[in-house]
């Protein structure tokens, strides 16, 4: 009996280590696949379209976004994403990139807020301005270090709210963000999940969004990433550029401070 138990135990151990080896190879294969794709990242098409949209005169006021203050002064795009989210005195709000673009579309171009945030995410056959603008602005921060201040009281408040949301358990699965992103070596199917409570993982993860998702054929922004995480958690739908989405972005962005921003990237 004891010998039988031992043998079964050994067999189980062997099975576990084989599964581990297979998983590692699969992860390496995905990395190789990403590297091969990185050379011709279609996100560049979004970046080019976004640059055009940034300079194009649009909206009722027939104005471009070139005077938009993204946090480093009006019209400064270079490195702007590394300081976002940030408190803006003109809107008296903490804003991330997407919400700031909405604000500029309203104040500079004369769109209504509803028009500006109507189509946040593209889909096959549906090109939207927002994800192209996001691709362009973020591409101008590639290779730079994240440097979110989070010193203004409203920025600190957003960080704390974001932290609460990150650890808040709820929904039919009783999940929090931390359930999947609070420990090492977690994964969904073969997809490794970053441990966002660890600085190195947080930096790498934050610095890799937005990304061209090969499986969807679209560039996906941080707002989309959070929206889809909420969906996977079976949480109520996360409203585009809502205070909650900005607070969570603030929490993730500040935790990524010091990390090199390297996006738009490419993901499977």
């Amino acid at each position: 009996m004891n010998a039988w138990k031992l043998a079964a135990g050994a067999a189980a151990m062997a099975a576990v280590s084989i599964a581990g080896a297979q998983q590692r190879t699969a992860v390496e294969e995905i990395e190789r696949y990403r590297a091969a794709l990185g050379d011709g990242n279609p996100a560049e098409l979004w970046e080019a379209r976004g640059e055009g949209l940034w300079k194009e005169k649009r909206g009722p006021k027939n104005a471009s976004l070139e005077k938009c203050d993204l946090g480093r002064g009006p019209g400064v795009v270079k490195g702007a994403y590394t300081v976002l989210p940030k408190y803006f005195a003109d809107s008296d709000k903490v804003e991330d990139l997407e919400s700031r673009l909405v604000t500029c579309m309203v104040t500079l171009q004369g769109f209504t807020r509803e028009q500006a945030k109507k189509d946040p995410f593209g889909d096959p056959g549906k090109k939207v301005a927002m994800d192209a603008l996001v691709a362009y602005v973020t591409s101008e921060s590639r290779g730079m270090k994240m440097n979110v201040a989070a010193t203004h009281p409203k920025e600190q408040e957003a960080y704390e709210v974001g932290q609460k949301i990150f650890y808040f358990r709820g929904g039919p699965h009783d999940f929090s963000c931390a359930t999947c992103h609070g420990a090492d070596n977690q994964r969904i199917r073969l997809q490794d999940l970053p441990n966002l409570t660890k600085t190195s993982d947080a930096q790498k993860a934050y610095g890799s969004w937005p990304a061209y998702r090969v499986s969807q054929g679209e560039v996906r922004s941080m707002q989309w990433r959070l929206y889809d995480c909420f969906r996977q958690q079976r949480f109520p739908e996360l409203d585009f550029v809502s205070d909650a989405s900005i607070a969570l972005t603030m929490f993730l962005a500040k935790n990524a401070n010091g990390g090199v921003f390297d996006a738009p990237s490419i993901k499977r």
């Binding site: 794709l37 050379d39 011709g40 990242n41 279609p42 560049e44 098409l45 080019a48 379209r49 096959p124 056959g125 090969v214 054929g217």
Partner: protein, 103 residues
């Protein structure tokens, strides 16, 4: 009107290496939309590349090529400053031509 291509052309040894990103839906004709109706096939059918007016690549593509395709190829006989022109035509007759200068 289709979006512009992204074309890079640079010397790689004694050959010119060209990398092209095209913006296209590349629908296979096999997929169905949310209502169950077939999404009509829509894909790039012909691609040609010319170097100083001379064709260096001519390809017939089908629906198996991915969305937003990336094409990379090399040809001999080019030098920096030369012009490379890429043209694609899709099965709806839509067309796009862009050019790049060899770096």
């Amino acid at each position: 009107m289709a979006d512009p291509m992204k074309i890079r052309a640079a010397m790689a040894g004694d050959k010119v290496e060209v990398k092209v990103l095209m913006s296209h839906e590349m629908e296979t004709g096999q997929r169905k939309d949310s209502k169950g109706a077939t999404i009509p096939a829509w894909f790039i059918q012909n691609v040609t590349a010319t170097h100083n007016g001379k064709t260096v690549l001519s390809a017939e593509w089908g629906p198996a090529v991915s969305k937003n395709p990336f094409l990379s190829f090399r040809f001999a006989g080019g030098k920096p400053g030369d012009k490379v022109v890429i043209t694609w035509t899709d099965n709806k007759g839509d067309k796009r031509t862009d050019e790049a200068t060899v770096a």
